[in-house]
């Protein structure tokens, strides 16, 4: 049976080559889209590691951008007078806001090795992890007891702890922020391990993350952002009052206030734009492939009317003809997709795109795109097959 179907396909190999090339290309397009959506879906369901409910971010911009010095009195003043507002529950400094476009990357070294670990990092005051509702897995958050120590206190995420200290506890370990032995390298002490902090939101790939302690009293550089946890139910009208309060402290600075929920919304829109564009293009291409396939199959069956007539004459039922045409198309699609898979499986095998393509995502994408192509091939072959199966043998044999 199988070979009976393969034979007519092989007989028309040039035409089928072009047809399967088209299916192969369409498969690659659907696969790309499915891969991207699957990855987005996967990332969306990972914990971000913080709670954004009722948290507002205030960016403090000094004019000209040169005023980067931390003035302990001003910083303390911000902390105190903002906490005093009745709508405010907690206040915490951070050097750049979650859901912003900033990234800060550096390398982290073990004291006795020259190979570094790439990390994303941020600075936070003692209050900030609590304000953001972050989850601690081991050890403790940095706090006022770390004030004045020789080594700066840091906390790291689980991913970094697992790769830097496999099999042992990271708490209490010393690491350096520059290559050990170089002049600028300073020691950092790990006080705790937290779950994760995906500060760019739901679509950020998990990375090694490091949070350094910001000391209000002793730091050289000021923090640009202060996060404020407001009482539940506080409306945005509070923004103006907040702005007035901020102006009382430093009138020459500009303040950009926005709830994290708003920042999340715009960041999500921004992140999904490439996916949307790709989806629109893929849909365009698929519609085209669908029409094309339909036309080609129609023509093919028309050309094969004598053949079909002969088969009917020697006893094939109309159901057999119907099956033959649909199966032939599905077989052709399968061959094309098999070739496509041989090419695409190189992606996770060689690991060119790193973590972005893991096996879960790859298999999901494969299932989705194979199903989509089969669905299109079946849909497009149904009508031509039905038309061919309806021919009466006498008509078909006389067809010229």
């Amino acid at each position: 049976m199988f070979f009976h179907i393969l034979k007519p396909i092989w007989k028309r190999k040039f035409k089928n080559l072009l047809l399967s090339l088209e299916i192969l290309l369409a498969f690659c397009v659907v696969f790309g889209l499915a891969l991207m959506s699957a990855r987005y879906y996967q990332l969306y369901h990972l914990p971000t590691g913080f709670v954004l409910q009722d948290v507002w971010s205030v960016r403090m911009l000094s004019s000209g951008g040169s005023d980067k010095k931390n003035d302990p009195i001003v910083t303390e003043n911000f902390q105190r007078s903002l906490s005093a507002l009745p709508e405010v529950e907690q206040v915490g400094f951070i050097n750049y806001s979650p859901y912003s476009n900033s990234t800060w990357r550096s390398d982290l070294f073990l004291p006795n090795s020259k190979s570094g670990f790439e990390v994303n990092l941020t600075d936070m005051a003692d209050e900030t992890p609590g304000l953001l509702g972050m989850k601690l897995l081991e050890g403790r958050w940095f706090s006022s007891e770390d004030e004045g120590r020789a080594e700066k206190a840091i906390v790291i995420n689980k991913k970094l702890a697992d790769s830097m200290f496999p099999g042992k506890s990271a708490v209490g370990q010393l690491v350096t922020d520059n290559e050990p032995g170089s002049k600028e390298s300073k020691f950092l002490r790990i006080t705790g391990v937290f779950e994760d902090f995906r500060n760019k939101g739901e679509f950020m790939a998990p990375t090694n993350f490091l949070i350094r302690r910001f000391s209000r009293a002793a730091e050289d550089e000021r923090m640009e952002v202060v996060l404020i946890k407001v009482k539940p139910g506080t409306s945005r009208a509070f923004e103006e009052k907040l702005n007035q309060q901020l102006k009382l402290i430093r009138s020459d600075w500009g303040y950009r206030i926005s709830p994290l929920a708003e920042m999340r919304k715009s960041k999500m829109t921004l992140d999904t734009v490439p996916l949307m564009i790709m989806a629109v293009i893929a849909v365009f291409l698929l519609i085209m492939v669908g029409f094309g396939l339909f036309g080609v199959l129609w023509q093919n069956t028309t050309q094969r009317i004598p053949e079909i007539g002969l088969r009917r004459a020697i006893g094939a039922s109309s159901r057999h003809i119907y099956q033959q045409i649909v199966t032939e198309q599905l077989l052709l699609s399968s061959i094309a997709m098999l070739v496509g898979m041989v090419l695409l499986i190189q992606l996770p095998l060689t690991g060119v795109l790193g973590d972005a393509i893991n096996w879960t995502v790859f298999i999901t994408a494969t299932v989705i795109s194979v199903a989509a192509i089969f669905a299109i091939s079946t849909l497009c072959s149904l009508y031509p097959a039905w038309r061919a199966s309806r021919l009466s043998p006498t008509e078909a044999l006389h067809y010229e």
Binding site: S63, G64, S66, E240, G295
Partner: protein, 411 residues
């Protein structure tokens, strides 16, 4: 001869209307996608309207400073523009404007985020804003540091509820400005903003001493022919800047670019090379368009190969009377190109509709792209490329039909 081909093509395409419709649909879909992209790129690289004088001015967006193992890339500081660029001999006008920065505006009970630029008086002379009411800041306004502002139409409506806002006060970043003019919404790279205020209204005068900051510069020559001279003189000026700067860098780079160069330099990060890589960028765009065309072209190839058989008898007769393979290939490719051109024409209508929809849907704020003559001619070129790409293989197959079999109609 062409007329003959045209008549035959019409007859053939009218014979099987369903397949012709499918063919056309595929062509139109492809053309619409490619033409929308082309129209947007055209409006970005060769703008008309507010930045219509683009061929006469160059822009500088970044200054790149390099030491042994450090590279610092940043927009310009005002000092670079004021003390160095304004003193260049080959330029007619130099404008300084900050990049758009988001600011909050408090009006009554509502808070709005809008994009603000601080600009000097020349900015308004180089760019052709369409003024709806009031006036734009003059040199006097800028020199005196008056707190005046120009807003665009959407912002006026958003904040005040009407476009008649000249004379109203607006509060932003702790400063109060009087609105003196309302301009039309625009999105172009130098013109895009919601509110413009004079550069002299910065709370402190620190910005005057900075080599790096948040400024862009536009250098306008008397004519397009001056631009190479400006580029040459800039090289000397950059050397001077590098020598004068208090924090010593080994090398400083600054390039005056046209729109296309500017984008190419940004995308390919040619910060340290005189060549912006615009040729590479264009080659990339063409490559992606061809790649996008590949699938629709294959689709058309498949459809067309099927249709050859409809014409076996015709081919048999032509061959029997001595038509060469080359003539047949030529005929079929021309027929296909004709169909593509027709598809392109229909595609242009749909492109126009898509662009109107894009402007109204406000997916991209203030986007207004229209079909121009250039886009029209690009569409022509794209259609011909597409026609050849999708016509050659079926034509070649057709021409190889054995005349004996073809005459019998049993190929």
């Amino acid at each position: 001869m062409l007329k003959n081909y045209f008549q035959i093509a019409c007859k053939v395409y009218m014979r099987r209307k369903l397949f012709t419709a499918i063919n056309l649909l595929c062509i139109v879909l492809t053309m619409v996608v490619l033409l929308v992209v082309t129209a947007i790129l055209q409006a970005t690289f060769f703008p008309t309207g507010v930045e219509g004088r683009s061929e006469r001015f160059l822009q500088i967006g970044t200054i790149t400073q390099v030491s042994k193992n450090k590279t610092w890339r940043s927009p310009l500081g005002y000092k670079v523009i004021d003390q160095y660029l304004r003193k260049m001999k080959t330029v007619e006008k130099v404008a300084a404007v900050t990049g758009p920065e988001s600011v909050s505006v408090y009006q009554k009970d509502s808070v709005n985020e809008i994009m603000m630029r601080r600009a000097d008086a020349e900015y308004w002379q180089i760019l052709d804003f369409k003024l709806l009411s009031g006036r734009v800041p003059t040199e006097e306004d800028v020199k005196q540091g008056r707190f005046v502002a120009v807003v665009n139409e959407s912002t006026a409506k958003k904040i005040f509820g009407s476009a008649a806002v000249v004379g109203q006060k607006i509060n932003t970043g702790g400063q109060q400005f009087e609105i003196i003019g309302v301009v039309e919404d625009v999105i172009h790279m130098n013109a895009f903003a919601d509110i413009w205020v004079p550069v002299t209204t910065f709370p402190s005068s620190q910005y005057r001493e900075q080599y790096t900051g948040n400024f862009n510069a536009m250098l306008m020559g008397k004519s397009a022919a001056d631009l190479p001279l400006i580029r040459d003189e800039l090289l000397q000026v950059v050397k001077q800047i590098n020598a004068d700067q208090p924090t010593h860098w080994d090398e400083t780079y600054m390039w005056a670019d046209s729109k296309l160069d500017f984008f190419a330099r940004g995308i390919l990060s040619h910060d340290k090379l005189a060549d912006s890589g615009s040729a590479q960028l264009l080659a990339g765009v063409v490559f992606f368009m061809l790649l996008f065309m590949l699938l629709p072209a294959l689709n058309l190839v498949n459809l067309n190969s099927g249709r050859i058989m409809e014409r076996a008898a015709e081919i048999g007769v032509r061959k029997a009377f001595g038509a060469s393979n080359r003539e047949l290939v030529k005929q079929f490719v021309i027929e296909n190109i004709l169909l593509c051109l027709f598809g392109a024409l229909v595609g242009l209508i749909f492109t126009k509709l898509t662009l109107i929809w894009l402007s109204n849907a406000e997916l991209i704020p203030y986007l207004k792209v229209d079909l121009s003559f250039a886009v029209f001619s690009y569409g022509f070129v794209i259609a011909i490329v597409f026609g050849v790409l999708s016509g050659v293989i079926p034509a070649w197959k057709m021409s190889r039909l054995d005349p004996v079999l073809a005459l019998k109609g049993a190929a």
